[in-house]
Symmetry: C3
Subunit: 346 residues, 3 copies
Amino acid sequence: MSHPLRKVLGSPRSIGELAEAIGARVVGDESVEVSGVASIRSAGAGDVVFVEDEKHLAAALRSAAAAVIVGEFAGAVSAGKPLVISDHPKLAFARVARALAKPGVANERGQVGLVHETASIHGSAVLSAGVRVDERVVIREGVEIGDNTWIGAGCVLGAGVKLGCECEIYANVTIYPGTILGDGVIVHAGAVLGSDGFGYVRDRKTARYEKFPQVGRLLIEDDVEIGANTTIDRGALDETRIGRGAKIDNLVHIGHNCQIGEDVVIAAQTGLSGSIVIEKGVVLGGQVGIGEHARVCEGVMVGGQGGILPSKVLRGKGKAFWGTPAQPLREYLKQLATLAKLAKKD
Amino acid sequence: MSHPLRKVLGSPRSIGELAEAIGARVVGDESVEVSGVASIRSAGAGDVVFVEDEKHLAAALRSAAAAVIVGEFAGAVSAGKPLVISDHPKLAFARVARALAKPGVANERGQVGLVHETASIHGSAVLSAGVRVDERVVIREGVEIGDNTWIGAGCVLGAGVKLGCECEIYANVTIYPGTILGDGVIVHAGAVLGSDGFGYVRDRKTARYEKFPQVGRLLIEDDVEIGANTTIDRGALDETRIGRGAKIDNLVHIGHNCQIGEDVVIAAQTGLSGSIVIEKGVVLGGQVGIGEHARVCEGVMVGGQGGILPSKVLRGKGKAFWGTPAQPLREYLKQLATLAKLAKKD
Amino acid sequence: MSHPLRKVLGSPRSIGELAEAIGARVVGDESVEVSGVASIRSAGAGDVVFVEDEKHLAAALRSAAAAVIVGEFAGAVSAGKPLVISDHPKLAFARVARALAKPGVANERGQVGLVHETASIHGSAVLSAGVRVDERVVIREGVEIGDNTWIGAGCVLGAGVKLGCECEIYANVTIYPGTILGDGVIVHAGAVLGSDGFGYVRDRKTARYEKFPQVGRLLIEDDVEIGANTTIDRGALDETRIGRGAKIDNLVHIGHNCQIGEDVVIAAQTGLSGSIVIEKGVVLGGQVGIGEHARVCEGVMVGGQGGILPSKVLRGKGKAFWGTPAQPLREYLKQLATLAKLAKKD
């Protein structure tokens, strides 16, 4: 079990050219060529590494890396390797990685513009230029797919599904009929988009549940990323909407009619029941649970395993909440401390 | 991104005919034809809407809907559109939706009675009349499928699986060998039914875990609905059973040997470890966790994120429990209030 | 719905031969032949059952089972059936079940050495002797698969994936490029291995999130079992590692760069964010949540729904923790008791 760790490997490019592309400056030899990114401890020749905290700079300089992205703090360092100076080294590193990545090496996309012979594509579907469709994909009536989008093996796209440009849909994803994705959406393997919401009406006479119609749709805006095996239900009668730039981790559940704002971050295994509003810029930790019709206002943060009651509204940009039922972080910590103190005395 | 919202659209039927079919009466023009269902705010011509609360009646009458389903409270209203009077408008609405839905429009079922040429079906499998099998389905030895059941693309049915009539199995579902489903069962995409339970025996000498046999089966009774990416394990030596009419949301986990009663409702991300009994009519909120050998008695409700300890028994029809460990709701709320008060003083 | 329960059924073997194979001794007729395992209440002719607690011995002897595995306590019992005496009856039973199981009966593996004609296998992939590849599997460039490994229908193995010998990969599993599995690994249906971690960098100017490179890998050591629809992310730049013999239940999430030790047990729906260390022999209950960079030291146990804060270290072999934030079990129970007492007085 001693296989070397694989890296992003693109064609070698000079560090000067890369720095210019991302708007940073180089101290040292701009002609040094790099072809991958790495952590300091695993870096090899040709790799770029980054340092956010000055205390790691010496280790980065000692490593086998070809170049180091650093903050302004390192501007005056004399080093044996070129330094890329940035006011946000981690962001610069992410952008260098993206600039270096060749499709088909950094991810599974492989060659664009190919439709595998084992894919089943309805005659009415419209595939734009550069679309890649892998093995055993099923594409039904009226589906439209934008430029350069990749559909991984085993995916099933129901009737009327529309995907924008430059999307990456990993293997074995199921997209229910009528679901709409914008541009640049990434969906990881096994995710289910647009499934029926969990809505029933109980017949008072028989005490049995009957299915409430789940015939709305799911709309996912541009630049959303959705984790593996996450499930997002379509609206019951109206729409579930995931806002531009939202990032959703693995095994998250989002119920029918939820409205997720732009740039919202939702960590793994968090669950939202129906008709919830999560405003712009909210951050939800892992395993958070939210009851129906609740609202989390712009910029609020909720700690892991926090629970928000149905119809509750949490307000306060930059304010953190924790616990079940979720309370302002400071108050909740105070309660935990009080309880610990009382228990010790008891 | 301005695609109109899709609706259930069947062949137009008169509101009088529909009302008769569901046992309701019409006030107004019975000959008005309708073809879809909608919420009040999205209703268009030809749609039926419903009003449960009198305060929404005016909006419904102002909407573009063709007809409104209302409670007895509206019996005397003079309106420009026909009213369907019902003592349970939401239930009546659900039934009208079902009456209007044509297979193939409201869901993915499409045309019945077709077996796609890319499906792999063992020669010993028995498919009854009207069974539809979609692309790339794998059906193994001894499988039996009842009338009019639909198997979505990419599903894998292990040896000896038996499905009843009128089931809907969405795409990419995996059903382990020997699993049995009754009639009218709906299984959403990515669900895994009958997987091995989580059972090991630790060898005291090596401190290593060895697999305990997981060779029982999973039995799912009629009219159960199972959410996307939910997992239900088969029994270790005996049986896991999901009772008639149980409704199970997305990403739920049900462990080996659990016995789920009739008309039980389990919200998303709830997890049951092994050998748990959930009696008839229980409602479990989202993210509830239950330890092995616990029992939740008939008609109990457990709030979201509640935790029930192993071997614990919760009793009381209509009684609500909350918290971890789960306590009667009133007691738990009292504890929360007491703690908040003490922390403020502290 | 009265289908008989299916059992493990191998070729009949004498109880004497089986006892010898597992290092136990027989009291009674060693020539009795058995072919399956069962619980006491469902046992039929030809089945072996086991008794761990003396109080169940009489029921076992009354059952239809052909033989009973018992502890030393039963050494002197005079019974109508052969007894297999073991100092760990449950372990002996598990081993008898394994000895009896024929591939293709106990699980879905079926006949070894067959590659289904509908599988898509890249010309550069290397399949060792006895490998079985089922319908519609996709195997990409550079994949290597060890002896007698089984790949279930609909699985997708990305470029450079390496699997050891005797692995069982159930249907519809997706394995991202570069993921490495050792020998004897079992992966249940719908699991996603090696997906991108949840890592972004926020651009302070635009307030938008950009993807941090997720180009490390996932390494899974020998004898690990992974539950249905579980997701394990690859390292961001380095490695996510699952140690030898770890047992992971359904719907578990393990984030990027986590290091899971040998013989760790993780129950269903537990979630680990990034860069967490779980040392050897740790047991995590269901729905546990752990924050990034936390460490759970050797032999610690964490109760169901427990929450561990980021960067927290839990120490103490054999010590149990519970609650959120997780505290030593005794202290936490004391707090719960104190609160209940105060609320009653309040």
